[in-house]
């Protein structure tokens, strides 16, 4: 447990997090190792966890019936995977595949939501961490869908 607390506190996503809050988060954490090609989760599954990538790389994919999957984003060390655990119905909207052997910390969603409900300071701090990441990804997605490198 001590090791997980240290890993959570040292992860860039939690840089500057209040130690007491980091301890609460670490109480919901567990280690994961994903071999290259294995999936962290699939679209439609319950979003029971989100992941802090420690080593390795993860591809986010969308599948259209009858077509190969399209990778729309890759994430690496220091980044987080998944926000669907934050909002009902808590279901993944895409697939996440390990592009290489990937080590990550999984944070149990129900556990953390419960702690955020009980301690709104923790909930607010989590939102302050998640919201900028989500906004940046939204901006990047807007740029992506403009297809600026296509022929105009």
């Amino acid at each position: 447990m001590e090791g997980l607390e240290r890993i959570v506190k040292e992860h860039p996503f939690f840089a500057g997090f209040a130690p007491a809050h980091a301890d609460l988060v670490a109480g919901c954490a567990r280690n994961h190792r994903f071999d290259a090609g294995s999936y962290l989760f699939h679209e439609g599954e319950a979003a029971n966890e989100f992941f802090l990538i420690r080593h390795g790389r993860v591809a986010l994919e969308i599948v259209q019936p009858g077509k190969p999957p399209i990778v729309f984003e890759t994430l690496g060390p220091g980044e987080i995977v998944g926000a669907s655990w934050l909002v009902p119905p808590y279901r993944w909207m895409f697939d996440a595949r390990a592009m290489e052997m990937t080590r990550a910390i999984g944070i149990d969603a129900a556990c953390l939501r419960g702690k955020c409900d009980a301690d709104h300071d923790l909930g607010y701090e989590m939102m302050q961490r998640f919201l900028p990441v989500m906004v940046k990804r939204l901006h990047a997605t807007r740029l992506q869908i403009l297809d600026v490198y296509g022929k105009r």
Partner: protein, 274 residues
């Protein structure tokens, strides 16, 4: 003798290399005399006789023999130029415009950020940085493109990747599962790059929307506005600041640009219809 700036000189196409399905790199040499010197970042007006003239950036080495231009077929003139074969005659006016601040960047880190065909105007600057590698700190190239198949100068990017004195990171907007690299937009690579923001000169070229997002990422990383340089694109006709087609606020892109320091255009950079 006064040289008429509107009179094109005759050049011969010495080489034509197909880069992508719609993009060709031409090497051209003057039919008489030596080709003029140029700075990385400058452009020529290329004339397809009987069709028209278009502004195309230099994309070759300043030390090489001829001019090198990478041309994408996007309209009647560029289509005619992109279709030229070895031995064809082409008209050239130039070089025109401002260059990348390769001298000013000496002694510090350099970030070269390109989107799509924007790598072409930056390539002469990259050649210069590599030829004078000892004069610079960290040199980093960040390149974003549409998908792996549309990657410009792929063979050269692979060569640059093998160098130990250069960091290069490539990202694509979308890919299939065979792609082992980054997927996402090029501004996302900025926070992951290693550079000293106060001592970095950033050279950025690509579609204007991509440059706006990139400038925001550079500002967030702490790169001062006066150390960010952009290559602007407008409809250039005369290329010498007379006709006004390329007016950009109080400036003309053909003579005050195409390379412009961001702090000098920040007030109008995001203004519509300017």
């Amino acid at each position: 003798m006064t040289i008429d700036p509107f009179l094109p000189a005759l050049y011969r196409v010495d080489g034509a290399r197909r880069e992508l399905s719609d993009t060709v790199t031409l090497t051209i040499a003057p039919m008489a005399g030596a080709r003029p010197a140029f700075q990385p970042g400058q452009f020529n007006m290329l004339y397809a006789f009987g069709v028209g003239e278009v502004a195309i950036s230099m994309s070759g080495d300043v030390e090489a023999g001829g001019f090198v231009h990478t041309v994408r077929d996007v309209g009647a003139v560029s289509r005619a130029i992109a279709a030229m074969e070895v031995g064809a005659t082409i008209g050239v006016r130039g070089p025109f415009g401002t260059g990348w601040p390769v001298k000013e960047a000496e002694g510090g880190d350099v970030l070269v950020i390109a989107g799509g065909l924007g790598l072409a105007p930056l390539r002469p600057a990259i050649y210069h940085l590599l030829a004078n590698r000892g004069r610079y700190g960290r040199v980093t190239i960040l390149f974003g493109t549409r998908n792996p198949a549309d990657m410009l100068y792929r063979h050269e990017i692979e060569d640059w990747r093998r160098r130990l004195d250069l960091d290069i990171d490539v990202t694509v907007d979308h890919a299939d599962q065979d792609w082992r690299g980054n997927v996402g937009v090029v501004p996302n690579l900025v926070p992951k790059a290693a550079f000293d923001p106060e001592e970095t000169v950033a050279m950025v070229c690509g579609p204007e929307v991509m440059m706006r997002f990139t400038v925001a990422a550079l500002a967030e990383a702490g790169v001062p506005a006066d150390r960010i340089h952009l290559s602007m694109e407008r409809n250039m006709k005369c290329a010498i600041g007379l006709c006004g087609h390329c007016q950009f606020g109080p400036t003309f892109v053909c003579k005050d640009g195409p390379v412009m320091r961001y702090d000098r255009i920040a007030g109008i950079f995001a203004t519509r219809e300017i």
